[in-house]
Symmetry: C2
Subunit: 452 residues, 2 copies
């Protein structure tokens, strides 16, 4: 028999190629032709951004009094862009943050045609706003979007949109040097057809939210054999919704048992993959060479997220700690960790990702046994050294090409008064009491959205 | 080392237990206590259904002129129920079908906290409406919902809600004997918090839509090694969104190459699992016994959907074809299919599920080779015999306990006139032109939804 025909293209190659194209190109990882085969679809074009400033600004919450948890603590504006398979990308809009409208049949609500990115903006000690390697996030979002049959786009146009939102909202929402804000670009399939098919419409948006500092030391519960996060040939490498919902049950179990996150294992030999939604690292003294090794799982079987923090940790360690640490991306197992622990060779462990930054791991529970690194805290650890190096870049204490400064404009709101709002509330309630409200309101929406 | 602690409970056991409880019980697979630990959360209670009939009925489309594809062809009403972790299940509502509101941070848009069911209602030749084994669907939805940390519910209450929607909309939307309509119960995590956690709010809804007849013969393309639908310890057995979005890329590839669906394989030995989103069956003459065997993959490794049609096919074949066919649920591989084909022992193959009903498979392409059953069409096949038996039950040609008759009330709409609607459209547009519209409108919504 002949070898199997490749079904899934090499997505990373597709994404990287696309990232090299300029915004005006019509080439795209999704077909760039309209259904009549004649017209090229419009590219995502950040220069077409339409800006509408809120006239009803939200109160600002300080991060330490964050509304996080029950509700979201999103900023005043968001960026939205609609994509249809007849037009391509419509003009992006920066507009007041609101609820969104979706048909109950929208693809993303049934088939998980959804993916996202998570990145942070940092207010430097010099007062400047910086993004950390944002082109890594936009390129990865393209990989994720392609994996779930959502549209392609120019990553550089997306980066411009992220900057546009920051340029308006960061002044108010990220005022204090040494703090950060969380940015969530999100792509969802929004087509109305219930059939299981590539969505004919999509909706891309960027929101920003206050986000707690989560880099405290963490305890991990190793996953059991009946709970597997990702599989070769699946989608563990992509930031698609499908990797998260099914993981919540194990996570809840971990929390009930007093752990912070799951350490996800894979295969009969219990090889170590990720910690919660972060990458996992350990520092072990090699039995063979006697040297310290910084070890993390490799990307080649595509079950692990290609984390921006992961990549940065590896690059900094290779560049600055070469004399002390050997940096290795290789498969390793719980048995390796356990014997290193038993023999006093497991020196440090940490989780690394955007949400939890660099968080020391103080304990791993695996099959009735606790595995504890010899150094779990303190300034003298490699974990802390690497974390500080990253923070210095993020907050502009040192100049580094990974930090991208964003120019700010802020916004001035011509705010409507409470009295005006109250009067309008009364008028809306009056209209809503009428029999014709619902049909008329849906008609107005349909006209606006062009999807009658 | 001790054996691994079980993290994921036996969901089927949970679901079945729950299904046996009556609606007033406070037992639940999700914690039935409010956050203060004192009050039990409200159960899903179909007797509290609040009915609001549309005053702007949609035009009826005949199935053969279906708007399917570009848009949806949903009926006039839907049923919605909100769940919060402080109240539990709110009162269900049957109301006019509209767009829905979600916060951009809603859990289902980021983390695929979403699951659904698909079932059909049939207009019998005796004029009665029937559901086919609906309790199987509601029990499975509970399994799915639990798997993605969405709330539990009484399956029988859910069945009552499905019947309530049918009792109102079936008269208009399913008038013709011998036709069916598609029903889609859907559960989504709707909490506003961006953190990766069990959703604190959820939204359950039921919609009905015209749906094309899809039981034509189909050609399958076997999946390649780099594309895996489900894995042990994952969620292939649950009808969660996460199983679908990531499968679209392979499906599109299949369609481009002239096939209808993917035949999903698993493992290095290419064992056969599912056909698209349907279960897959083949009829092979055993090399050993010389007898015909009806074979489908087993459920025990939980990578295959426990299909209602699958189960019904197996049960009917065991009951009525025992003299002719041995019915076997066992692991089998593409090599088994290929050698059966080469030796003239592959007699029939078909896909079975709600969407595609029982569809004969005429060809399977695997690693450069076509595998073709000897009987691919015609009335004389077992495929057709089983299909007709099922249809007779669904359309009431024979009495059978699997068919559940639904009483109808229909609805009378006190329709608003076009003129009234147009006048209201004008008024809404006037208000919308005002500066205070957006803030006021959001305020009214927040009051209504109680989530200011």
């Amino acid at each position: 028999m002949a070898p199997p025909a490749p079904i899934v293209a090499d997505l990373t190659t597709v994404a990287v190629k696309y990232a090299l194209l300029d915004n005006n190109s019509t080439a795209s990882p999704t077909p760039a032709k309209a259904s009549n085969g004649e017209l090229a679809l419009a590219e995502l074009d950040s220069s077409k951004l339409k800006v509408t400033i809120t006239n009803s600004p939200k109160p600002y919450y300080r991060p330490e009094t964050s509304q996080w948890g029950r509700a979201d603590a999103t900023t005043d504006h968001w960026i939205t862009v609609r994509w249809t398979d007849t037009v391509g990308w419509h003009a992006p809009e920066l507009r007041p943050y609101t609820r969104m409208d979706l048909w109950p049949t929208a693809s993303c609500l049934h088939y998980a045609t959804e993916c996202f990115e998570g990145l942070k903006a940092y207010r430097g000690y010099d007062g400047k706003i910086r993004l950390f390697r944002p082109s890594r996030n936009t390129a990865r979002l393209l990989v994720s979007s392609t994996r779930i049959s959502c549209p392609g786009f120019s990553p550089s146009a997306m980066e411009e949109l992220i900057k546009a939102l920051l340029s308006v909202d960061a002044e108010k929402w990220l005022p204090e040097p040494g703090t950060f804000i969380y940015i969530r670009p999100t792509m969802i399939g929004a087509g109305r057809a219930l059939g299981v098919q590539k969505p004919r419409e999509a909706f891309f948006y960027i929101i920003m939210a206050l986000f707690p500092k989560l880099d405290n030391p963490m305890k991990l519960l190793a996953s059991s054999e009946d709970s597997i996060r990702a599989w070769p040939g699946g989608f563990g490498y992509a930031k698609v919704g499908a990797n998260y919902g099914p993981s919540l049950m194990a996570q809840k179990e971990a929390q009930i048992r007093g752990y912070d996150q799951i350490l996800w294992l894979f295969g009969p030999d219990a090889s170590v993959t990720e910690a919660g939604a972060s990458n996992f690292f350990c520092i072990i003294r090699s039995k063979v060479t006697g040297k310290l090794e910084l070890i993390t799982a490799p990307l080649d079987d595509k079950i692990i997220l290609d984390g921006v923090t992961r990549r940065s940790v590896l690059e900094l360690a290779r560049e600055r700690l070469a004399d002390e640490l050997e940096v290795v991306e290789r498969k390793y197992t719980m048995a390796d960790l356990a014997s290193a622990h038993d023999e006093g060779r497991l020196v440090e462990a940490f989780a690394a990702g955007t949400a939890f930054f660099v968080a020391p791991v103080t304990r791993i529970h695996f099959r009735g046994k606790d595995i504890v690194p010899t150094k779990t805290d303190g300034e003298e650890t490699y974990t802390n050294t690497i974390k500080q190096w990253l923070a210095q870049i993020m907050y502009g204490k040192v100049e580094h090409e990974w930090a991208v400064v964003v120019e700010e404009k802020g916004f001035k709101s011509e705010a409507v008064s409470e009295a005006e709002i109250e009067e309008m509330v009364k008028k809306i309630k009056e209209l809503k009491a009428s029999r014709a409200w619902q049909a008329a309101f849906e008609k107005v929406k349909s006209e606006e959205l062009g999807d009658a």
